[in-house]
Symmetry: C3
Subunit: 346 residues, 3 copies
Amino acid sequence: MEFSAKQIAAYLKGEVVGNENATVHTFAKIEEGVPGAISFLSNPKYTSYIYDTRSSIVLVNRTFEPEHEVKATLIKVDNAYESLAQLLTLYEASKPKKFGIDSLAFVASTATIGQNVYIGAFAYIGENAVIGDNTQIYPHSFVGDNAKVGNDTLIYSSVNIYHDCRIGNNCILHSGCVIGADGFGFAPAKSGYDKIPQIGIVEIEDNVEIGANTCVDRATMGHTVVHSGTKLDNLIQIAHNDEIGSNTVMAAQCGIAGSTKIGSWCMFGGQVGVAGHIHIGDKVYCGAQAGIGSNVKSEQTIIGSPAYDAKGWMKSSAVFKRLPDMYSELNAMRKEINELKEKLNK
Amino acid sequence: MEFSAKQIAAYLKGEVVGNENATVHTFAKIEEGVPGAISFLSNPKYTSYIYDTRSSIVLVNRTFEPEHEVKATLIKVDNAYESLAQLLTLYEASKPKKFGIDSLAFVASTATIGQNVYIGAFAYIGENAVIGDNTQIYPHSFVGDNAKVGNDTLIYSSVNIYHDCRIGNNCILHSGCVIGADGFGFAPAKSGYDKIPQIGIVEIEDNVEIGANTCVDRATMGHTVVHSGTKLDNLIQIAHNDEIGSNTVMAAQCGIAGSTKIGSWCMFGGQVGVAGHIHIGDKVYCGAQAGIGSNVKSEQTIIGSPAYDAKGWMKSSAVFKRLPDMYSELNAMRKEINELKEKLNK
Amino acid sequence: MEFSAKQIAAYLKGEVVGNENATVHTFAKIEEGVPGAISFLSNPKYTSYIYDTRSSIVLVNRTFEPEHEVKATLIKVDNAYESLAQLLTLYEASKPKKFGIDSLAFVASTATIGQNVYIGAFAYIGENAVIGDNTQIYPHSFVGDNAKVGNDTLIYSSVNIYHDCRIGNNCILHSGCVIGADGFGFAPAKSGYDKIPQIGIVEIEDNVEIGANTCVDRATMGHTVVHSGTKLDNLIQIAHNDEIGSNTVMAAQCGIAGSTKIGSWCMFGGQVGVAGHIHIGDKVYCGAQAGIGSNVKSEQTIIGSPAYDAKGWMKSSAVFKRLPDMYSELNAMRKEINELKEKLNK
C-alpha cells in the first residue's frame, strides 16, 4: 500500500514542506534511505543525513529549519519520534495476528482460556491456569499451574511463567524471560546451605514489557511486583520481593538485589547494579554500570560505583586520569616543602 | 490447616511469649502481616515493624527483647531465619508433587529412567540418557544424549543439558539455564577464527542450585565442575574448565572466565567478574561489581575493579569524590610553594 | 581408535621427540594427563606441568626446549594450540551427526527445507521459513515465520529466531539465544511510554557463533547486523540497529547499546558495556568491565569505566589504592605550607 505525504500529514496533523504527492510504501532509517521510504529525524546527531537521504519523505520536528536544500519532502510535526511511533503502530496493527489453539499445544483441562486467543504448538498451559481474551502465547512457552495471564498480552516463544504468578493486561514478554523462579534465599548451616522455600509469587501489572532472557524472581513470601507501564530490557535480574514502580525503564543487564523498592518514572542505563533492602525514589536517572548501595531520594541523577551525583562523578573521573601525575607532583612538592623547611629552620 | 503457637514452638523447640493458642494458616513478611499469618524477624533493619505487624505469630531470635508492647505472639528460637526455613520446608513438602511420564514427552528408547519420576509434556530425554529416582523434569526441558541426572533432582521448564553432562542428586535447576554449551575457544587464523571443539563435559555435584538463565560451559577437555552445595543465582556465566568449590554462593550476573578455580564457602555479590586462569581461595567474600584479575588468598574480603582489600577500597572511594577539590588544592599549593621558593631565594 | 605419535606428527607436519610409537586414544589437559591421552602446551603458565604429565604425547611449539627430562613423547609443531584445534576438529567430525525430520517436530507446510537436515522433536519451523542444506535444528528451537537459516548451520536446543530474521551459513547458535526480539524503543508520553514497533530484522552473516542465552535485538527499521566470522560468548546483549564487524570476539555478558557500530577484529573482555550511537574502530582491544561512552579509533587498547588508554588506566588504578594516604599527605602539606608562609611573612 502506498500513502502520499498529504495523506500522512493529515493523519499526523503535520505540515508538508515540498511535494505533497510524494508517496511511500515502507520505512527506512534516514542514513539508509531508499526511494519510496519514509524516515524521521529527531536526534540532532543525525541532522547531516537529511540533506542526502534518498528517502522520499522525512518526518521532522516543527522547529527544524534546514540549512541547505533538502531533496526529500518534509512533514513537520510536534514530535517526529512520536509521530513515527504512530505510523509504525498503524503498520504493525495492519499485519495479520495469529489465533487459535494449535492441536500440538497442551492445555490442561482445568485451565480457563479466554476468547480469541492464540496458543501455539508445544505451548504448555498448566492446571487451573487462566489465559485472558485476545492473548497470544507462542510455541514452547510455559504457563505454570494456577498462573494467570491477562487480556491482550503477547507472550513470545520459550517464555517461562512459574506456578501462581500473575501477568497483567496488554503486556509483552519476550523469548526466554523467566517469571517466578525461586528467589535466592539460603540459611547457612554447618554442613552447607539450607534452602529457604520461596512461597511467594510475581505480579506483573498492565502495560509492562519484559525483555528476552530477563528474570523476575518470585517472593520468599508475598509478592515481587513490577508496576504498570514499566519496561525492562533484556537479561535483567529482578530479585525476590523487589518492587519496581510504574513507568520505570531499565536498559539491558541491570540487576536489582532482593527486597529493594524502586520508584516510578526512573530511567536506568545498562548494567546498573542495585543493592538489596534499599529504597530508590521517583524520577531517579542512573547512568550505565552504576552501583547503587544505599537509598536514593527522588529526582537525582547519579552514576558511578558506588553511585553518587553524576556531575561530581564526571569531574572525579576526569581527575582520575591524572592521578599518576598528581602522585608525582605530590611527591615532588613534599620534597620541596622539606627543603623549604630546612632552609627556614637553618 | 491451622497450627497454634504452642504446636509450632514444640516443633521448633522454641519458647512462646504471649498467647500460646494463637493460630496461623499462612506466611507473611512482617511488614505485610495479616491475621492468621506467621512472620519472622531476623534482619535488625525490620525491627520497627514488630510493634505494628498484624501477623498473629512472629518468630524471633532468643536474644530479642521488645522495647514496647508487641501485639503478636512471639516464638523465641535460636535462629529465627533458620526456623522459618524449617517451617517453609515443611509447608512445601506438604504440597503434592508431579509424577509420571507425560504421553507428550519424548524419551529415547535407550534412555534409563528411574522410579517415581516426573517427565512433563514436551520434555526431551536423549539417547542413553539416565534419569535418577524421584527426579522431576518439567516441560520443554532437554536432556542431551548420554547426559546423566541424579536422584531427587528438580529440573524446571526449558532447562538445557547438553550431551554427556552430569547433574548430581538433590539439585535444583531453574528455567532457561544452559549446562554444557561450548566453551568460548577459538584460535586466530589469517582469514578468521578457527573453532576449538569443546569435547569435555560439565559436572554438577550434589545439592547444587542453578538459577534461571545461568550458563555453565562444557570444558575444552576434561570437566567444568560445580562442587556440592554450591548455589548460583540467575544469569551467571561459568566458563569452560572452571572449578567452583563447595558451598560457594554467587549472586546474579557474576561472570567467571575460563580455567579459573574458586574455593569453597566463598560469597560473591552480584555482577562480579573474575579473570581466567586464576585461583581464588576458600572463604573469599567479594563485593558486588568487583573485578578480580589475579589470584586471591583464602579468607579475604575484597571489592573494586581491580578488586583489593574492601576496607582500603571504601576509603579510596570516599576520597574519589573529593578528587576535583584535591586537584585544585594541589595546583594552589604548587603555586604557593613556587612563591615561597622565590621569596626564599631572593 | 588409536593413533601413534608418528601418525599424528605426519598429519600435523610436526616433528617427534621421543618414542614415535607412543599411542593415544583420547585428549586430556596437560595437568590432568592420563596414559593414552594427548595434551598440549601453549600458555607458558602451564610449562611446569610438562615434566610430570602422565599423558603419552604432548603437542608443543617448535620453540619449546625442555629444561629437564620429559617422560611424554613430544610433537613439535608451528603452533601447538592450532594443531590441537585441528586434531579436535578431526575428532568431532568423526562423531555421527543427527539427521532427519523428527515426527514430533512442527514444520509449516509453506516452509522450505533443504537436503540432509536434522529437525528435532518439538522444534518449530514457521510459515515460509527457509532451512538450508545440512543444517541441524535441535529440539525446542523456534524458527519464526519468514525467517531464513543458511546451510551447514547448527542450532542447539531452545534457540529462538523471531520472524523475518536471517542466519547465515556455517553458524553455531547455542541454547537459549534469542535472535530478533524487539529493540528497546519507547517514546515517553504523559500517561506512560508508547511502544515504538520494531519492524526491522536481524542479519547474522556466515561463520558466526552465538553463545547461550545471548540476545541480538531486531532493528527498529533496517537491520541489526553481526558480520561474518564474529564470535559472541554467552549472555551478551546486542541492541537494535547495532552493527558488529567481522571476526570480532566478545566475552560473556558484554552489552552494546543501540545504533552502535563496532569494527572488525576487535576483542572485548567480559562484562564490557558500550553506549549507543557511537563508532568503535577496527582492532580495538577492550579490557573486561570497561564502559565505553564515546567513539574509539582503530587499534586502541582501552579499559576502565569510562574507558581510555589501558596503560594510563593501570597507572591510575595503582594510585587509586593510595588515595587515602594522598589525601592525608595533601592536608599535612597544606598545614606545613601555611606555617611556612606565616614564618616568611613574619
